[in-house]
């Protein structure tokens, strides 16, 4: 499979990247990990005249911490995320990163790319939504912050303008007694697009039993990764026990909007319920440690 023709840019810093994107707009595509972009090019799904590789842009790599939370460079790879301690609740993101593609893919694929391709089954989107992440979008001379819950539009589309570059993903610091978990269902263990995935993040009161905050996010069962807000809301103030997890899971199954494309909608909902129970149970275990 040959790639279509394009010119190649390798900006040395974020400002230069933004300048190039401002100049070429929708004729240019950003190259982060390449695991989606190169396939889209090979299959002639896109025909950019310019490809802008972000490899050399140091600002997009690694982790920074301030008093409010953590900044994760958008070009950080899934393999690198597996080695980061994100603090309370962050287990969900680490678990999701460790299930992206294969080890070979995880060494290339980036968190920013996983979000920007906006696939309903993207592994890292549910945990980041559950962790209340927002993304910083840069363009030449300007910057904006978008909450991840407002980021996705439909399969393959998000709110980024053609000239924008995602620089960092911001994760607010969550209370100490918070735990997270990610569950993914596929037909095989590697190189698998989720049939259903669920991320859960739970915060407990001082008694270590009462739920004070919860987020449940469903992947691959709606046009975009979706917050199961009713299911999560049903748990606030309740005890973290199996009965309440099961009740929330059945609400989540109802909230899911599967289109029955890869599996039947009935099966998807059943799996949402099962995976939600598992995710909540493990998130609670992580929170009460």
């Amino acid at each position: 499979m040959l790639l279509p023709k394009f010119d190649y840019h390798a900006p040395a810093n974020l400002e230069e990247a933004c300048q190039i994107m401002a100049h070429y707009g929708d004729q240019a595509r950003l190259l982060a990990g390449g695991t989606d972009l190169l396939i889209a090019l090979k299959k002639n799904r896109i025909y950019p005249s310019q490809v802008v590789a972000l490899d050399r842009v140091g600002e997009l790599k690694g982790v920074g911490i301030d008093e409010n939370g953590l900044y994760l460079g958008a070009r950080t790879t899934a393999a690198e995320i597996m080695e980061i301690d994100f603090g309370p609740g962050g287990e969900a993101l680490v678990q999701a990163a460790s299930q992206v593609g294969s080890p070979l893919i995880r060494n290339l694929a980036t968190v920013g790319g996983n979000l920007a391709t906006a696939m309903p089954a993207a592994d890292m989107a549910p945990p980041l939504l559950a962790l209340q992440a927002s993304v910083i979008l840069e363009r030449y001379g300007d910057q904006r912050e978008v909450e991840l819950k407002d980021f996705f539009v439909c399969p393959g589309e998000q709110v980024m303008l053609p000239e924008e570059v995602m620089s960092v993903i911001y994760l607010p610091q969550l209370p100490e007694s918070t735990g997270g978990a990610f569950e993914k269902l596929g037909v095989r263990k590697a190189l698998e697009r989720s049939i259903v995935s669920v991320a859960a993040v739970v915060s407990l009161a001082e008694d270590n039993r009462t739920i004070v905050d919860a987020r449940i996010v469903l992947g691959a069962v709606a046009p975009t990764p979706m917050l199961a807000t009713e299911a999560a809301g049903s748990m606030i103030g309740k005890k973290a026990v199996a009965k309440n997890f099961a009740a929330a899971a059945s609400i989540a199954a109802r909230e899911a909007r599967p289109r029955g494309l890869r599996t039947s909608a009935v099966y998807s909902r059943l799996m949402v319920e099962t995976l939600t129970i598992r995710a909540l149970t493990r998130a609670f275990e992580a929170a009460s440690k």
Partner: protein, 170 residues
């Protein structure tokens, strides 16, 4: 389409190449540099036959543009042996019968090499996870897993120390 002039370390040698921007790493290695040990399979990152080490980490070279390796380190299967002396992994693959058609072998060995450099004494699960992006349609994986595990640290210690003692413990 302006060509890109790149300089990188290929199997320990500084290499300069002029490449087309739309050239993938696997095609540059095979077609421009004649290193056909790296195999071209699916071209979509699913099969792992094009695995190379990029700065020591295994990646699908069909999903990397040649221009992206400018300033980086690339190791292909040709850079694994030391002259005529096979790497212990290569010897082990032969000894354990872990090669049938051989198409997946370069990728398997590079994924395994990266694993053993990080984790010299891997569990079976770690081995199976490390090669989960490398498909083999011949062996059923068992002999590949055995070959990698027998190259691991504890296996190495075993063969280098008193063999009888090891067998006694085993």
């Amino acid at each position: 389409m302006k060509k890109c002039h790149i300089t990188f370390q290929l199997n320990g040698m500084t290499t300069e190449v002029l490449v087309n921007p739309n050239q993938t790493l696997v095609r540059m290695l095979r077609e421009d540099l004649g290193l056909t040990g790296t195999k071209y399979g699916c071209g979509e990152g699913d099969c792992g036959s094009c695995t190379v080490l990029l700065d020591g980490e295994p990646v699908n070279s069909c999903l990397v543009l040649a221009a992206q390796v400018d300033g980086h380190r690339v190791t292909t299967i040709e850079g694994v042996a030391d002259g005529d002396n096979l790497h212990s992994l290569q010897a082990s693959f032969i000894e354990k019968g872990a090669i049938q058609c051989g198409f997946c072998t370069p990728g398997m060995i590079l994924s395994a090499k990266a694993l053993l450099e990080k984790q010299p004494d891997p569990s079976e699960l770690e081995v199976r996870t490390a090669i989960s992006g490398n498909l083999c349609r011949c062996t059923g994986y068992q002999k590949i897993v055995e070959a990698i595990m027998s190259t691991g640290k504890s296996a190495g210690e075993c063969s280098s120390s008193n063999e009888e003692k090891c067998q006694g413990e085993g």
